[in-house]
């Protein structure tokens, strides 16, 4: 496998040697350099009302989009919608549609049947991308969620983590998502919200911390040697976490050095003069779901805009427990999905879907208005919105709803609707990784091919 693995990089070369690497690969060092392609995923559970989601035809897609996509109208020419992308067939887990809709979404793979009570699935597409491009940025990837991933429901004896996670760093390691916008802001930029919020009264990470962690890491490796295999695996998560903090401190130092050099006139600014300035983050005080989701979207935009990460995953809602008082009703999302064509419930599901797509639209419209390298930020992104079921009422997954926004640095031809795509979820993920320039040595999950018609 010939790829730059960030862990090997750090293990083999040491953090200090990772710096020149970042230096040489940073995208805007030369004026002619193309901005990197960023890859973002956003999830809604339980499927859609099909006749309100699927466009009527390729011809009318842009002029009269279906109700669910109305909020995307201004940027529809920068989107692609495909009908016919099938999900992973879930037998022998037929009784676990919700545990699997999320966990198969980016893995395109079923959990191992004989180890179902553990996490044992496959690395997810976002983490494959992070393995390749993560070494160039302060954070390899960003995982966000709107609600804590603590909903517990045991379906078909599957590990409860499957219910609320979609990112997997390895087959056996689920990546938890951050739900607190203040924490995200602090982690992304080592700083607090301007003028407010006292979530962190901490001092910024220092180089002394880095040296301290180096010593602790040495001690942890000694400990690891004395432990049985299963314990070692558990400790590896810890080692991973230490390394990622070390990397981040290195990245902060690098950025500080860079800024100082720019200030002293030794080096040209990384940013193009015409680029939009970084957006501002304002964290709302209330409990309104739309405001909360929008600040998470803003953080995602800012992380991409400042090249703090190039891969993000946002679980807009986990498969259960969510309700939408903001839409004027309090019952839970899931209980309405089994609507049996009851018009009232159908209306509610349609509203919930519109709401979720509107938050995605908020994000991509904002990206489409941010200038970057002569184009827009959205031009250099691939943003995928989707659900892990097509019809929540019957748990079908023959044609999963997806919206792709952004031209992926010119790799995707947008403004199109394909009414009869042949392919599965894995094929789609494989294609998107390829469009993002990720050198993949094997297809994602059940993929057998790439979906060529998507490409420019």
């Amino acid at each position: 496998m010939s790829r730059i693995n960030r862990r090997d990089c750090l293990k083999g070369l040491g953090v200090s040697l990772a710096l020149p690497l970042m230096d040489s690969l940073g995208w805007a060092d030369t004026k002619a350099a193309k901005p990197p392609v960023r890859l973002g995923f956003m999830y809604m559970p339980h499927g859609v009302i099909m006749d309100q989601f699927w466009p009527a035809s390729s011809e009318t897609f842009l002029s009269s989009p279906p109700p669910a996509l109305e909020s995307l109208r201004p940027v529809l020419n920068q989107c692609v919608v495909m009908k016919g992308i099938s999900g992973v067939p879930i037998a022998p887990f037929n009784g676990a549609p919700h545990a699997l809709e999320l966990s198969t979404w980016l893995t395109a793979m079923l959990p191992a049947a004989d180890k179902r009570h553990e996490i044992n699935i496959a690395i997810s597409a976002d983490q494959i991308a992070a393995n390749h491009v993560g070494a160039f940025t302060a954070l390899p990837s960003l995982e966000l969620a709107t609600m804590p991933q603590t909903w517990k429901e045991n379906q078909e004896g599957l590990n409860e983590g499957y219910y609320s996670h979609c990112s997997f760093r390895s087959p056996t390691q689920a990546v938890p998502a951050e739900v607190n916008p203040r924490n995200v802001l602090y982690r992304l930029f080592n700083k607090q919200e301007r003028g407010g919020g006292a979530a962190h009264e901490s001092s910024p990470l220092s180089s002394l911390d880095r040296s301290l962690l180096d010593i602790v890491l040495g001690g942890a490796r000694d400990l690891r040697r004395t432990l049985p295999v299963s314990d070692q695996r558990k400790l590896d998560e810890y080692l991973d976490s230490v390394r990622s903090v070390e990397r981040r401190i290195a990245a902060i130092e690098y950025r500080q050095k860079d800024a100082a050099m720019e200030k002293a006139g030794v080096r040209a600014s990384k940013r193009h003069a015409s680029d939009s300035p970084p957006i501002e983050i304002r964290i709302p005080d209330g409990e309104k779901r739309s405001e909360y989701m929008q600040v998470m979207c803003d953080l995602n935009i800012l992380a991409f805009q400042t090249d703090t990460t190039r891969v993000s995953t946002y679980i807009g809602s986990t498969p259960n427990g969510a309700s939408y008082p903001e839409l004027g009703f309090n019952d839970q999302h899931h209980s309405n999905t089994h609507h049996n064509d009851d018009p009232e419930k159908v209306r509610k599901i349609a509203r919930i879907t519109e709401f979720n797509i509107a938050q995605f639209a908020y994000m991509v419209k904002k990206m489409a208005n941010l200038r970057e390298a002569g184009g827009t930020l959205l031009d250099n992104c691939i943003m995928m919105w989707g659900s892990g079921l097509e019809d929540g009422n019957k748990h079908t997954r023959e044609s999963l709803p997806f919206v792709i926004a952004g031209k992926g640095g010119g790799s995707i031809k947008t403004g199109r609707f394909f009414s009869d795509t042949k392919g599965n979820q894995g094929d789609l993920l494989t294609t998107l990784l390829a469009c993002a320039g990720i050198p993949i040595d094997r297809p994602v999950g059940i993929a057998t091919k790439q979906i060529e018609e998507l490409k420019a």
């Binding site: 409860e160 990546v175 810890y238 976490s241």
Partner: protein, 649 residues
């Protein structure tokens, strides 16, 4: 069906086994071992003579070690080591499919009815095929709560200092993995702890600094030597075991780092303390040094690990000095000592952690604070109300532990704990007033016990109405310990033209439509009656005679075995009559929580033995806790690599 099946499983124990169990009372250890060997030999032979030919004939042709295996099911390894814990689920599912005539599929050769019956009745013997095995005990990270409490005990800081850490999924004891950024939060929290306990630069050391670091160093003394001494005492507390010399070297190296960076002695010690707080030995419960495993890879827990296991189970925090001293002397694992410690820990008020960590999840009130209720329909569900509902369940749980009551009290009790807030739900607002919770005797037979407790009734409701199905599932799974399979996918829609008439039905009539469909009927004929038996409690647990449409509520029903009931009080009596099931369920859930893993294979035998003991003294709560803490898997661990080697041989 589910209920019947489960009862049948349990009564399947052959009569001679019952006799053995009685004999066991004489000299339990010797006889239990001999008994287990005899049962194992019998089960082995039965598997060889009857089950193996069945599987070879009807299953292996499709499900074998050859690609592609059908449905991801492969019986080849399970045939070799049928008792391996990894295959327990496998056999259970096979049993269910064969019983339901799903397997072998149509068109394939079919077993005779007698063979089919043999295969399904064989399942209860499965456990005897397992080797005596305590299961793996993978090093475990402290939970958010445990971590906060441990910081409190070490430094006197408020445990809420840990609030910023992500919440955990702890189902079956599996913690979610460590986020790649979580260590940064640990670093930040360490900084905040230091800021709270440390004197300002140049100031006199605070009391806590004096306690942790000893006297300030006088010029001329060897600072490094002194730092090593401090490291040794710090690590013993924070790592909850004596540190190794290599671990001390690491800590002294961080002290040296501080000195190199021109920090004064005291500040360099602070840096060392920070290193302690982000070390895996602090964040995880780790063994004290290399364990010498026996040839089968099974080791007894060292006393320090046991002290931590026990202390985090009952107190949710680090072991105190008394436990540590017993571990120092190598005494803790002695049964009498261990039982005395269980008593001491349970008598201490810190044992409320057993409710917050275990009881609240078992009784499903852990999420009550965040649960959504329709504010227009239920304006009563204020923060104070949710807290009072939670506290009622907590105090009730704690009283059963404190007074060593029979676990049947959970179902059937004459008292509860109320304050003025939650008394409103009971309609007792006139007699119970004020914010303090107190013990209240109940006259109403429909109340008393978890089935009629507002916190639990609310936790099993939707935001705007009750859910008889959720309540039914809750009683079966949380009280009786039965497994209710998920609803099948693609639940058939009600016929469209029926919609007008369906709208006019009551919730009960509508739910009863489940039972007109044979697919649904199997489970719902048990679930629904229990749920409807509780329908006179509304979505936040208030008594009512009519539903929100003004229709009278029918809370009569019948459970399999011609057990008729006319409301919650009767239902409660029927459930309480299944005392062995209630106790077994609690024992299983507590053991799984204590071990931090799912129960499998040999664990079933552990529970069988525990139940025999418990039955003799009327299922008392403290006996149950003692039984769990002194059980074989709690005191031992299997080391994975040895197991692997054996499997390869």
């Amino acid at each position: 069906m589910a209920a019947e099946a489960a009862t049948r499983h349990r009564s399947n124990t052959p009569a001679w086994l019952g006799l053995c169990l009685i004999l066991c009372l004489a000299a339990p250890d010797v006889l239990a071992a001999a008994n287990h060997d005899a049962l194992k030999a019998d089960a082995d032979q039965f598997f060889r003579d009857r089950v193996t030919p069945f599987v070879t004939t009807y299953c292996i042709p499709c499900h074998q070690n050859k690609r592609p295996t059908r449905g991801g099911v492969n019986f080849s390894p399970a045939l070799k080591t049928p008792g391996h814990a990894a295959f327990t689920e496998h056999w259970k599912r096979a049993d269910a499919r064969v019983k339901a005539n799903d397997m072998p599929p149509k068109g394939a050769p079919q077993p005779s009815d007698a063979d089919r019956q043999m295969f399904t009745e064989w399942l209860p013997k499965l456990k005897y095929l397992s080797d005596k095995d305590p299961g793996p005990f993978v090093i475990r990270r402290l939970t958010k709560t445990e971590y906060g409490n441990t910081l409190r005990d070490l430094f006197g800081v408020d445990p809420s200092i840990a609030d910023g850490l992500p919440d955990e999924v702890s189902g079956q004891g599996y913690l979610n993995s460590l986020s790649s950024l979580q260590l940064e939060q640990y670093l930040n929290i360490a900084d905040r702890v230091l800021r709270q306990i440390a004197a300002p630069p140049g100031g006199r050391p605070t009391d806590i600094e004096k306690r942790l670091f000893g006297p300030s160093i006088t010029p001329g003394n060897d600072a490094r030597q002194a730092a090593r001494k401090v490291a040794r005492s710090l690590a013993r507390k924070a790592y909850r075991r004596p540190p190794t010399e290599a671990e001390l070297d690491v800590l002294v190296a961080t002290f040296d780092l501080g000195v190199r960076n021109k920090l004064a002695y005291q500040s360099a010690l602070h840096l060392m303390l920070k290193a302690v707080l982000v070390s895996p030995q602090f964040l995880f419960i780790t063994p004290a040094g290399d364990a010498a495993a026996s040839s089968n890879g099974i080791v007894q827990l060292d006393d320090y690990q046991l002290a931590s296991r026990l202390s985090y189970l009952l107190w949710g925090t680090m072991p105190d000095e008394q436990l540590m001293t017993l571990a120092d002397n190598g005494k803790l694992h002695e049964p009498a000592v261990l039982k005395a410690q269980v008593k001491r820990l349970l008598d201490d008020r810190r044992s409320r952690a057993l409710f917050d960590g275990f009881g609240a999840h078992w009784l499903s009130v852990g999420g009550l604070k965040r649960q959504v209720f329709d504010p227009a329909l239920f304006p009563q569900m204020t923060t104070a109300m949710r807290q009072a509902m939670y506290d009622e369940v907590r105090l009730f749980f704690q009283s059963i532990v404190r007074d060593d009551e029979s676990v049947i009290r959970f179902v059937d009790s004459k008292y509860t704990y109320l304050n003025g807030t939650v008394a409103e739900i009971y309609g007792l607002g006139k007699t119970v007033q004020g914010p303090e919770m107190r013990k209240v005797l109940l006259r109403d037979g429909n109340r008393g016990g978890v089935l009629g407790m507002p916190g639990i009734l609310a936790a099993t409701s939707f935001p705007n109405r009750t859910s008889p199905v959720k309540r039914g599932v809750w009683v079966l799974e949380q009280v009786l310990g039965e497994h209710v399979p998920a609803a099948p996918p693609d639940v058939p829609a009600l016929d469209k033209q029926d919609q007008g008439s369906v709208a006019k039905l009551t919730l009960r009539q509508r739910t009863e439509l489940h039972r007109t469909n044979p697919v649904c009927a199997n489970c719902h004929k048990i679930l629904d009656p229990i749920g409807f038996g509780l329908e006179k409690f509304d979505a936040i647990g208030r008594w009512r005679d009519r539903d929100h449409n003004g229709q009278p509520i029918d809370s009569t029903g019948e459970l399999p075995g011609a057990k008729r009931f006319s409301g919650p009080a009767d239902l409660k009596a029927i459930i309480a009559g299944r005392d062995a099931d209630v106790a077994r369920n609690l024992a299983e859930k507590l053991l799984a929580y204590a071990l931090g893993r799912k129960l499998e294979g040999y664990d079933e035998i552990v529970v069988d033995e525990l139940m025999a003991d418990l039955a003799r003294d009327g299922y008392r709560m403290r006996s149950l806790i003692n039984g769990v803490v002194t059980s074989y898997p709690f005191l031992h661990r299997r080391i994975e690599e040895h197991r692997r080697l054996n499997e390869q041989n």
